[in-house]
Symmetry: C2
């Protein structure tokens, strides 16, 4: 559990860094065998890439490091419930466990809306653990959108 | 309609090229104001990137060309019904129309499984036109998987 909190703290740090860059403050960390493979914050603005969510960037970077299309045995820590795009990418990458912080009622695709892992078109579902670091993750997002208004 | 078929032919060409590279033969073309912005075939193997579906690559390339996170007014032609990941990315990019060839009962996210555009967590849905070039698109996939066995 201590390690789990430590890795989510790294994801929260990535979220803070993203917010400081003017990006929506969401962060993600990919871990395998207790080692961080990749960490990323949201970069949709900087990269002018609508797919550059923290989870997608962490998956891409980890795949590049491992020189593998799949990340079997890897665990993903992300500060917000993944959207439907990211939920599917996590499945395709064969990620073992998904830990997320705050739920996302408006855009989440794991426990809201598409609930991708419950679909017959989903061929691998990670184990999902929600709520770790939820308060801090949600506060980062709330502060960001309050400041933007 | 003639233009629609012409653009789907380009997508089919990209699918064939992908197959020739040993990738799953799926191709996509992004068009705006009658001009091709980007074309792509599946490159998950070559790029060692599980997210490198034809649609995602075409979206990324078009965003880079337009220096914009959004592709409002653009139309996407793809040979196979997009998966859930790509369906969501198409929505995020604000693509206007989606033309796809063959349906994908096992992995589609538009008219199967998650049916993302019907979800309350979907905040932009393209107009969807299915079946253009379906026979050729399906034959490419069937031949590819038959040859692999």
């Amino acid at each position: 559990m201590t390690l789990t909190i430590r890795f989510m703290d790294v994801a929260l740090e990535e979220a803070q860094l993203a917010g400081a860059r003017g990006e929506v403050p969401i962060g993600a960390v990919l871990v395998k065998n207790g080692v961080i493979l990749a960490r990323a914050g949201n970069e949709t603005r900087a990269l002018q890439d609508v797919t550059a969510h923290a989870e997608i960037l962490a998956i891409r970077r980890a795949c590049a490091i491992l020189e593998d299309e799949r990340l079997a045995g890897a665990d993903l820590y992300v500060t917000l419930e993944p959207c439907t795009m990211c939920a599917a990418a996590i499945s395709f990458a064969r990620i073992r466990r998904l830990y997320y912080g705050a739920p996302d009622e408006k855009g989440g695709g794991v426990d809201h809306g598409a609930r991708f892992y419950s679909q017959p078109t989903c061929h691998h579902a990670p184990d999902v653990y929600a709520g770790i670091g939820e308060t801090e993750a949600a506060a980062l997002l709330k502060d960001f959108f309050t400041a933007k208004r």
